[in-house]
């Protein structure tokens, strides 16, 4: 097991390097002079020159990448010229709310998605399966940002049960209760689509596994259906479902951009949208990098979870 985890950790290095390359390349797709777009058209020539030398804009691409990567490895993600503060500080302030929202949504969609998927599989073609299939169809067809608006309309405006957003400071007065109240609606909005996807895939995985010979063996031993389904079928289905949870983490982290905007959630997603509209390229670059890194780490965790479940994977 230790060896398995170490191998996975080692494999992380090239993936993370790849991520930095993509972030770097994409950000320098910016048309025109980057220094001008960072500082705006009214920047003084001195400031422009300063930025150019800071970012190594006079150097060749690979050299610039090397300079930037060295900075990143030392925790220096550059300076936001709009907010006048280091990018890393800004990101750290906003990372916790985003991880909280994404984590809550991922947990919710996994639990709901897997449970409903199992129910749909073992009640295949009976009414629970049909109802679930219909709900799933609605789930994958509803844009999350519209769902967020609907939730606000009903639960915040009409019934006034929950706040419509406006969470400003995670660590302000009110404590965890206040955070939880603000968290409910955005979590629901963000979890709906991935939950629907997980229901589908869990259902299919369960139906596939239920046809396997070892399920027949379990039945031939006289085990009760509950045990056959949970211990023999579900455990094997889970091996195929866990990587999907990893993929859905990507959806959740990306979708957080919409949901944070709809619910005024003080996370990286909303920061990114603001930064894009103010053309704060350096801040966007840092934000994208840190979220992508979080995604890579989550996928590492699902890889490891798969290894824990399946001895063939961890011994391979």
């Amino acid at each position: 097991m230790t060896r398995f985890i170490l191998t996975r950790l080692a494999l992380l290095v090239p993936v993370l390097l790849g991520v930095t390359i993509i972030v770097f390349v994409v950000m320098w797709l910016v048309p025109g002079d980057p220094a001008t777009s960072i500082l705006g058209t009214f920047a003084t020539p001195e400031n422009l020159a300063k930025v150019r030398s800071e970012l190594g804009l006079n150097e060749a691409m690979p050299v610039r990448y090397a300079i930037w990567l060295t900075g990143v490895l030392h925790g220096d993600l550059g300076q936001s010229y709009i907010l006048h503060r280091p990018v890393l500080d800004e990101l750290l302030d906003r990372l916790v709310p985003t991880l909280l929202l994404a984590g809550a949504s991922l947990a919710l969609c996994s639990v709901v998605g897997i449970l409903l998927g199992i129910v749909a599989a073992i009640r295949q073609n009976a009414w629970p399966d049909r109802v679930i299939t219909l709900v799933v169809l609605l789930g994958v067809s509803t844009p999350s940002f519209w769902l967020g608006m609907l939730l606000i309309l009903w639960f915040a405006v009409r019934f006034a049960w929950l706040p419509a957003g406006g969470m400003q400071d995670m660590f302000g007065p009110g404590g965890p209760g206040e955070i939880a109240r603000h968290l409910i609606l955005p979590t629901l909005a963000l979890a709906a689509v991935p939950a629907a996807v997980l229901v589908r895939l869990t259902r299919t995985a369960m139906l596939e596994v239920m046809r396997q010979d070892y399920v027949r063996t379990a039945r031939a031993k006289g085990l009760r259906e509950g045990r056959v389904i949970l211990r023999h079928a579900f455990l094997n289905a889970l091996v195929n479902v866990v990587p999907i949870i990893g993929i859905e983490a990507g959806y959740v982290l990306g979708g957080a951009v919409y949901i944070e905007s709809v619910f005024q959630w003080p996370g990286i997603g909303r920061m990114l949208v603001n930064a894009i509209s103010t053309r704060d390229i350096i801040l966007v670059q840092g934000g994208v990098l840190i979220v992508a890194a979080a995604y890579v780490v989550i996928n590492l965790l699902t890889d490891i979870a798969q290894g824990v479940l399946d001895p063939r994977i961890r011994n391979a």
Partner: protein
């Protein structure tokens, strides 16, 4: 398919066969949901195509006096937005734009992605590595975030948003198409095309592309919905379509702040996106299901805990005997696609306490299905027991309540299956898999049950059993795995062990050892045995009596010694010719020419007639009864009767 149960139900045709377009169309049309989705989309498309000719007001004309008018206001069917623009007009034009962007994005990303995938797979090596590493890198990103980053760099505009969506979707197509192409690349027809000196481009265009097309279509049809939603999302954030032009996402974005005062401004474009996405998803699912070979083969139906039993099944005429197991007129069939395969067709036999009975025949003869029918383990759907009676210790098993069957399974009637690599659960240790049956039937606690599992492992000849109990199936050799299978079967000292070709996958030496061990343990417990094999030699070593099966029927029964020395049915004679004699390699044995008939189209009379050297007209005239040829020895052949009469005359 996993070939669950090794039943010879011919399902899909050859795996490489291309789905016929007529068949795909039929399957698509059979799904009511998919047709409904297609209808919905057609209406939407017709509406947006007709937009310029409809009596709509200018979608961009503002009218501050009539801003945020409710739906059903005169002149504004769906009301107006915050600038007094007509929502009906805006939603139709917006839908037009959203659909256009979605279709263009899907087309371009599927073209680019498929091209990359085909090239990577076809050229392999460095090209493959290069392309796929790039794909991996892109896929290491949350794709919405990547799209956002691209738009951030290029600047907000609908064109850039579309470009971003295309780029982030290319990897999905590349990966799917590469996977499909790699499996084709080694296939015969590609090799043939190469040998014929066709150019690479030509092979790709004429041989590969048509074959990977279903994969492209499935990926496209399932992702076009996402692409529409994603582009809408970017516009929603103000990064896509720029005012005053609005796609559906843009309309939602500007309605965001009106949610308290005029919720209908958001409801209109929201519902439009929902309807389009539902239509696209329904059609996508329909296309996928119609093209998926697995679903083509009858679907992923859930297999129930016990074989279905026909409620109006005929009861056997003969009363059951008081043997340990009495099978009378058993009929088990498979139903699929309007066809019925009569896998077991009126089979009767019995097993006395402590006795070993062999069922022998080629694959597809119904011997496995007969064995599985005993404890209701035939997969259903598609299997079902259509008639007969199975009595075990006087208790009728056909139609017995599941709970009663579960008390017997693994306890009084235990099974040992072929190929323990697929019949053992890969995720549980063998100790867990043995002890769970002990716990189930003996009510022991986990520790005591595990201790017993270790003892059982020792009894079946596993060295270092305590250590081995913690191993997983894949860590054992084939012979060891089969011993584990034996341990599971023996765990609760059953009265009857049903062993389905338990040693076929093993080499001859290991096979002999496992068989000897199984027999020894069986005798120790005094358990009866039903042993299924295609190998008369193995049956001869183990069994007291044997039933030869052909095309779902027993064609000869008798004591093993009698059947071996005086086989009465031509099929048995041919089968015995397949048994290698000492000093003769197995491969030199002459197989029986021809194939057994498919049990969905059994000929009248003797099913062996097409392959039988002795066949005469009478063989195909009608049902042939079992004819006694000696004591406890009978055969189902008209010529046997002739032979007897000749002998008598």
């Amino acid at each position: 398919m996993s070939g669950a149960q090794g039943i010879a139900v011919p399902l899909a045709p050859t795996p490489a066969s291309r789905p016929s377009s007529a068949g795909v169309w039929r399957r698509f049309m059979r799904s009511g949901m998919a047709v409904a989705g297609a209808g919905l989309l057609l209406v939407v498309v017709a509406l947006v195509l007709a937009a310029p000719f409809l009596p709509l007001s200018d979608p961009d004309r503002t009218d501050i006096l009539h801003r945020m008018a409710r739906p059903l206001t005169t002149g504004h069917l769906l009301g107006t937005d915050e600038l007094g623009r007509d929502l009906l007009s805006r939603v139709i034009w917006g839908t037009r734009l959203s659909l256009l962007v979605g279709v263009v994005a899907a087309t371009l990303s599927s073209l680019i992605g498929s091209a990359l995938g085909v090239v990577a797979a076809y050229y392999g090596r460095a090209v493959d590595t290069l392309v796929m590493r790039g794909v991996d890198m892109l896929m290491a990103f949350p794709y919405l975030l990547l799209a956002l980053a691209i738009v951030a760099a290029l600047g907000p505009s609908l064109g850039h948003a579309m470009l971003a969506i295309i780029i982030v979707n290319v990897p999905f197509f590349a990966r799917a198409v590469r996977g499909a192409t790699v499996s084709l690349r080694q296939s015969d027809f590609i090799a043939a095309a190469r040998l014929m000196g066709q150019s690479n481009l030509r092979i790709i265009a004429t041989e590969l592309l048509p074959n990977v097309l279903p994969v492209v279509v499935v990926t496209a049809s399932t992702s076009v919905g996402w692409m529409i939603l994603e582009t809408a999302g970017l516009s929603f954030l103000g990064l896509g379509a720029q005012p005053p032009v609005a796609d559906l996402g843009g309309m939602l974005g500007s309605a965001r702040n009106l949610i308290n005062v005029a919720p209908h401004v958001a409801a209109v474009p929201g519902l439009a996106i929902l309807l389009i996405a539902i239509g696209v998803n329904l059609v996508g699912d329909g296309v996928r299901d119609a093209l998926d070979p697995r679903l083509r083969a009858g679907g992923l139906a859930r297999i129930s805990a016990v074989t279905e039993v026909a409620p109006d099944r005929p009861m056997p005429a003969q009363p059951p005997s008081d043997a340990l197991l009495s099978v009378r007129s058993l009929r088990t069939e498979f139903r699929s696609g309007g066809q019925v395969w009569r896998a077991v067709n009126d089979v009767s036999f019995e097993v006395r306490a402590g006795e070993a009975v062999g069922l022998v025949g080629e694959s597809g003869s119904g011997k496995t299905v007969t064995a599985l029918s005993i404890a209701g383990l035939v997969a259903s759907p598609p299997g079902r027991i259509a008639g007969g009676s199975i009595r075990f210790k006087g208790q009728e098993l056909i139609g017995a309540p599941l709970a009663a069957l579960q008390d017997i399974r693994g306890n009084r009637v235990a099974y040992m299956f072929q190929d323990p690599l697929t019949t053992l659960n890969p995720l549980l240790t063998i100790g867990q898999q043995i002890s769970e049956t002990v716990r189930r039937h003996q009510g022991l606690g986990p520790r005591a049950a595990m201790a017993q599992a270790v003892t059982l492992l020792e009894q079946v000849g596993i060295t270092d059993p305590a250590q081995r109990a913690r191993s997983f199936p894949h860590e054992l050799s084939g012979g060891q795995r089969q011993r584990v299978g034996a341990a599971i079967a023996l765990a609760n000292s059953p009265d009857l062990i049903v062993a389905d070709e338990p040693t076929t996958a093993l080499d001859v030496t290991t096979q002999a050892r496992v068989l000897a061990l199984m027999n020894e343990q069986r005798h120790r417990l005094g358990a009866a045995l039903v042993f299924i094999s295609h190998d008369m030699g193995v049956i001869a070593e183990l069994c007291d009596r044997v039933h030869v099966m052909y095309a779902g029927s027993i064609v000869e029964s008798g004591r093993v010694a009698d059947v071996l020395s005086r086989p009465a049915h031509p099929y048995t004679i041919r089968l015995l010719a397949c048994v290698p004699r000492p000093g003769q390699a197995r491969r030199e044995v002459e197989p029986i020419p021809g194939l057994p008939p498919a049990t969905n189209a059994l000929p009248p009379g003797c099913a062996f007639a097409p392959r039988c050297d002795l066949a005469i007209a009478a063989c195909s005239a009608g049902a042939i009864p079992m004819v006694a040829v000696g004591q406890e020895h009978a055969a189902r052949c008209v010529r046997t009767r002739d032979a007897l009469q000749e002998a008598a005359a």
